[in-house]
């Protein structure tokens, strides 16, 4: 848990903003950046997503948690235009987004990453990064033919990319093809690339699954910095330590529905959440008694 004495301004701001928000599904927030209403997606007989109402607070870090198959990724897909809902509306920054194609969603400032990473294999890592830059003049065909028009901008973008790469411990891989990255490195690239877009809101789908804990920790610092810069973060994660550490607000989904909302502590104490998601040994730091017992037994035999 964050140290009480050195509360960052962003954290304090969010605490203040979410102070009076009731801890219940669909609770209205003072200044939501994203509001979704009655979003439903069915696959055959299965209703993967059926969200009545949900609001994402602006400028904060919101975690979206829930058991496997709860519909989190599908919900992301719907919000970002990669999939079409059977019904439902949502607005981002006050603008309706339903039916808007994926690239326009991204251009409006809402960028997502993929749970199963999408590295652009035969592009260098640095080019993967540069691709994230928005409003590039050189991306227009006719202007691309005259390098003088885009050189300056390119340099700027490259600097920013190198900065992020260093933070994500990918600087050594700068000139390698992205296809040669390890599983975890791809996750990192995926996230760094999304940040290149400099969106209002970034949606991360299990960004830290498969990332080394030590690195996770330093990256969390970076995410927190994003909050300080006023960016909104919505992320899906199964690592409860991380959720607890950085999120201002937690939304819990199960079987397509939002079943609980609240601050990390309240949500994780919610019996429904424990039941549907966390399981009996919900506290990630605690040892599974069975396992510990087994371990102990094993250790003793080994010691003999």
């Amino acid at each position: 848990m964050a140290d009480e004495t050195t509360v960052a301004p962003g954290v304090a701001r969010m605490r203040e903003a979410l102070k009076d928000v009731p801890h219940e599904p669909g609770a209205p927030k003072p200044d939501p950046i994203l509001v979704a209403d009655k979003v439903v997606r069915r696959f055959g007989g299965l209703t993967a997503v059926s969200v009545d109402h949900v609001e994402i607070p602006r400028g904060g870090i919101t975690a979206l948690i829930g058991p496997n198959g709860a519909g989190k990724t599908t919900f992301f897909n719907l919000l970002t235009g990669f999939d079409k809902p059977d019904e439902g509306d949502w607005t981002f920054n006050g603008k309706p987004l339903a039916g808007v194609p994926a690239h326009k969603v991204a251009n409006q400032g809402m960028v997502r990453t993929f749970q199963l990473t999408k590295a652009l294999s035969r592009l260098k890592v640095i080019d993967n990064m540069r691709l994230g830059g928005t409003g590039q003049r050189g991306e227009k065909f006719w202007q691309s033919l005259i390098p003088a028009l885009w050189r300056g901008q390119e340099k700027e973008i490259t600097e920013r990319a190198d900065d992020l790469l260093a933070r994500f411990k990918l600087d050594a891989k700068r000139e390698d093809f992205a296809g040669s990255l390890s599983g975890g490195q791809r996750k990192l690239l995926e996230m760094a690339r999304a940040l290149m877009v400099q969106p209002d809101m970034v949606m991360l789908d299990e960004p830290m699954a498969g990332v080394n804990p030590a690195l996770t920790q330093s990256l969390l610092g970076h995410v927190k910095d994003l909050r300080e810069d006023g960016m909104t973060v919505l992320f899906v994660e199964h690592d409860m330590d991380m959720v607890r550490d950085i999120s201002d607000w937690v939304i819990v989904m199960a079987q397509g529905k939002v079943i609980a909302e609240g601050t990390p502590d309240t949500v994780m104490a919610d019996p429904r959440v424990i039941d549907a998601y966390l399981g009996a040994h919900h506290d990630g730091t605690e040892h599974d008694p069975d396992v510990v017992a087994a371990l102990e037994a094993e250790g003793e035999t080994a010691d003999e």
């Binding site: 496997n68 749970q115 975890g184 199964h238 330590d241």
Partner: protein
């Protein structure tokens, strides 16, 4: 192993001595994907019969590559992999399955075009008679799989895929199980389940070698851990020792959970 302190594998002779008579062992592996670039550099590893070995390390250290090399999916340029005293270096994967090795890859670990049931059926490809019994066991473990047996794996959620991948390996009843980040993407409850079951399976006599980023949980249950960095194994020691080694904590485990 003595539980003195983490010993550098640089002391290779000691490690080799300990590896004597191990069920699986890899000696001095050099392997890589692209010509001229070695990912594994003189990597040593062993697992004794019935042992649960964990491998942790930073991203890109070569953990997956090491497992793939053991399983014949990466070309080994020098060094040997030995199973029960028999050299299995660069043997084709399907041959190794017949020898009782099971492998769950980190990515691409389901058959997207096949239903869940068919995915699991592939786990018992070599012993179709066992399918019924094993299927019951696995769907007991992951009820979600049993309920959705006719769904195509390609349409599953990330976590559900992970269950299918793990389930397929469990169908195989291998004597050596290689797991590459089996808990990634699973909900906490499921993660518990996976670690618990892995231990349980191990206790039935199956040798398990698992790569995990959920390092703490992994080290909790394993008999012995390796820390891999830049294609070399930097440390090996009992799981508990590694978990408490300040250097390992700083470099690989992070302090997050104890904040």
């Amino acid at each position: 192993m003595s539980d003195e302190s983490s010993n550098l594998i640089g002391d290779r002779s000691e490690h080799l001595a300990a590896a004597e008579g191990a069920l699986v062992r890899a000696d001095d592996l050099i392997a890589g994907y692209l010509p001229g670039v070695n990912i594994l550099n003189n990597c040593d590893l062993y697992a004794k019969d019935g042992e649960l070995v964990g491998i942790i390390g930073p991203n890109g250290a070569g953990k997956s590559t090491l497992l793939k090399a053991l399983f014949g999916l990466v070309n080994i340029r020098s060094g040997d992999v030995v199973l029960r005293g028999e050299k299995i270096t660069n043997l084709k994967a399907n041959k190794l399955v017949a020898k009782g090795i099971g492998f769950v890859p980190q990515t691409n670990n389901v058959f997207g075009n096949l239903t869940i049931e068919e995915n699991l059926e592939m786990g018992t490809f070599l012993r179709p008679k066992r399918f019924k019994e094993r299927f019951e066991f696995v769907s007991g473990l992951f009820p979600a799989l049993g309920q959705r047996r006719k769904q195509r794996a390609g349409s599953l959620s990330g976590g559900e895929r992970q269950m299918v991948a793990m389930g397929r390996a469990l169908m195989m009843e291998p004597s050596v199980l290689l797991l590459d980040e089996p808990s990634a993407g699973l909900s906490p409850a499921m993660q518990d389940e996976v670690f618990f079951r892995t231990k349980q399976i191990n206790q039935t006599g199956v040798t398990v070698i698992m790569v995990e980023q959920n390092a703490r949980r992994c080290l909790q249950i394993c008999d012995r851990g390796y820390v891999l960095d830049q294609g070399r194994n930097a440390y090996t020691a009992s799981g508990r020792d590694l978990m408490h080694d300040p250097k390992v904590i700083e470099l690989y485990l992070g302090t997050l959970a104890r904040a």
